[in-house]
């Protein structure tokens, strides 16, 4: 019942085998758009190793390559969150945190911060809390922390609220409160 275009895509993936970071980056930087997008859409297995260079491509001046790099980074980050892949997830989270803390392009740093909301665990919370001090990343970092379950994210939001720039403490307090919304009380004052 699968449509023809999907069967072609599945066959293509099977023929290419497991994606590696070096193959992914070569295809993304290369001139062949078909190879670039095939690699980006199948980037899930490339792992944390590919993330720093994908962030560099995102900051480049070729919008199509930058988009392919953004897609690949998201595929790697979200694939690492599958149950039973804790070691991979931690390494991806570490690579995303390095990009978020770094001095690369803002688009790449924002994307890394947003993805930490999914792939990040307790180990990412201090980085995100520190980024609340940076105006351009503040809201993305707060929203990423709000998404991460557990005490470490609570503590990071509390800590950030105590050091918050003028006028921003209320946003952090609201995040702390909204983390407690359940399906039973959502929407009720």
């Amino acid at each position: 019942m699968e449509p023809g275009w999907l069967l072609t895509k599945i066959r293509e993936k099977e023929m290419n085998g497991k994606m590696t970071a070096s193959r992914l980056l070569e295809a993304i930087r290369g001139a062949d758009a078909d190879a670039r997008w095939s690699a980006a859409e199948n980037a899930a297995d490339a792992g944390a190793e590919a993330i720093p260079e994908l962030a560099q491509v995102m900051g480049g001046n070729d919008p199509e390559k930058a988009k392919a790099a953004r897609v690949a980074m998201e595929r790697i980050a979200l694939a690492s969150t599958a149950p039973g892949k804790e070691e991979l997830r931690r390494s991806v989270s570490g690579a995303l945190a390095d990009v978020a803390r770094g001095d690369g392009a803002l688009a790449a740093r924002r994307q890394a911060v947003r993805l930490l909301g999914f792939a990040g665990g307790a180990e990412a919370c201090d980085t995100l809390a520190a980024l609340i001090g940076q105006k351009d990343l503040r809201e993305d970092a707060r929203m990423a922390l709000q998404r991460i379950p557990g005490n470490a994210a609570d503590r990071a939001l509390e800590q950030a609220a105590r050091k918050a720039p003028a006028g921003y403490e209320s946003a952090l307090r609201r995040s702390l409160r909204d983390r407690k919304i359940t399906r039973r009380d959502a929407g009720i004052r």
Binding site: W37, P63, E64, T81, M143, Y168, D185, G187
Partner: protein, 430 residues
């Protein structure tokens, strides 16, 4: 419009804009009159979001109109022929008015839940455009608010009020296809972007910050805004959550799935747009597998129309005994002749015959009954759409439990249940 009213409107908008930074407050005492309006009482309606689909919600006697785009407001005001509507840029000013009983909401998706919840808290009944909500928790919040504040909330997936959908429902629910084994929905691909979306100056007539509202900040571009918001995951969800909401509403109705509380397994595959800044998939195939009873639902774009009864988009319902094609699922719903010719037995299933979607909403405000596309059904249907998009983004098979509204053994998938809001917006404690 007279010069005087123009000046009045402009000065009001200026004032409204100045209040936008205020915290979200709907005062405790600001509740529409208690009880149900009588059969002859006028239900005073205001319209929030009056461009696009919202134009269709405007009544000749709408009491107030709201939009973040001044051009939309000016056009919409011309449609009100009985009286002069008050014009607002901030929907909270409408909710504060005690004389307004009900509101229609036709904003982009990312506003639906907040505005519906706010409106219920302020005592207003709601007709909200589809798709019901952007996230699963938002949909639940809308249901909670409707029930807790005893408001009638109808989702404007109007296929359930379409005569052809009712005939299809009678045909399928009376067993003419036997037991349903699968439903396959086909649809064209999402719109192709033609720009990389270089930031542009915000038009002076548009309040871009309020348009974004709870969504993450992004620079203005006309193809990120009106209509085209559908092609961004931060505001829309592609055709799967747009027309898919219509198609899956009809599927859920015909297969008697509205009250399904079991598990569903969802997987999705697709391709990206190589060019341009839209971030929904270019092509998408989603498969939902239900248990008890076992049956399969698919969404394919681009999909192949059923040659027996072709149309731009539609679904083939396959049962043990026969199959049936239903086209579209919105105001343009159509079904094969055999369903139109079918007469249900007198003791058989008879689908509700809606007097029209808007009228059904007004009737229910008067009677207190649930409307044909009650918010809880809307939440169920849009959850199916949202599950497809979540499976697509995660790139893996997920299992969702409708009884708990959580994913099974996949804690990171649960992080997709809600999108944190941009400050100062919140789904709690308005």
């Amino acid at each position: 419009m007279s010069k005087t009213s123009k000046i009045r409107r402009r000065s009001f908008l200026k004032g409204a804009a100045a209040t936008l930074a205020l915290p979200v407050i709907v005062r405790e005492g600001v509740i529409a009159r208690n009880g149900k309006p009588g059969a002859n009482d006028r239900i005073v309606i205001a319209n929030i979001g009056v461009g696009g689909m919202g134009r269709n919600h405007i009544r000749p006697d709408s009491a107030a109109l709201c939009d973040v785009d001044e051009n939309h407001l000016a056009e919409a005001a011309k449609r009100v022929t009985e009286g002069t509507p008050a014009l607002y840029r901030d929907y909270r000013r409408i909710l504060e008015r005690k004389d307004i009983d009900a509101v229609t909401i036709a904003t982009p998706d990312h506003w639906h839940a907040l505005m519906t919840v706010h409106a219920c808290q302020a005592g207003k009944h709601v007709l909200c455009e589809k798709p019901t909500a952007k996230t699963i928790l938002e949909g639940r919040a809308m249901v909670n608010a409707a029930r807790h504040y005893r408001r009638v909330v109808q989702i404007n997936a109007q296929g359930r009020s379409h005569p052809n959908a009712r005939l299809a429902c009678n045909y399928v629910r009376n067993g003419m296809l036997g037991r349903i084994r699968r439903v396959d929905v086909w649809h064209p691909p999402n719109f192709q972007p033609d720009t990389w979306g270089e930031p542009q100056r915000v038009p002076s007539t548009l309040d871009w910050d309020m348009w974004l509202g709870p969504a993450p900040w992004a620079p203005y571009h006309p193809k990120r805004c009106h209509f085209h918001f559908r092609w961004f995951m931060d505001y829309g969800g592609g055709f799967l959550r747009d027309r898919g909401n219509h198609a899956l509403s009809i599927v859920s109705w015909l297969t008697d799935n509205d009250g399904y509380r079991g598990r569903v397994t969802v997987e999705a595959s697709g391709t990206e747009f190589r060019e341009g800044f839209f971030d929904v998939p270019a092509t998408l195939h989603v498969k939902w597998e239900f248990q008890d009873p076992e049956w399969t639902l698919t969404w394919t774009q681009p999909g192949t129309p059923n040659p027996r009864f072709p149309g731009d988009w539609g679904a083939t319902y396959t049962g043990d005994r026969d199959d049936l094609v239903v086209l579209a699922g919105d105001g343009g719903c159509d079904v094969e002749q055999k369903a139109k010719d079918y007469k249900p037995p007198s003791d058989g299933f008879q689908a509700f015959e809606s007097p029209g979607h808007f009228q059904n909403w007004l009737d229910c405000i008067r009677t207190g009954e649930k409307p044909v596309m009650d918010v809880e059904i809307g939440h169920h249907v849009v959850t199916l759409c949202n599950l497809g998009n979540i499976a697509w983004r995660l790139g893996r098979k997920v299992v969702f439990d409708f009884s708990t509204e959580r994913f099974v053994d996949d804690p990171v998938a649960d992080r997709f249940l809600h999108e944190p809001y941009r400050s100062p917006w919140s789904l709690a404690g308005f």
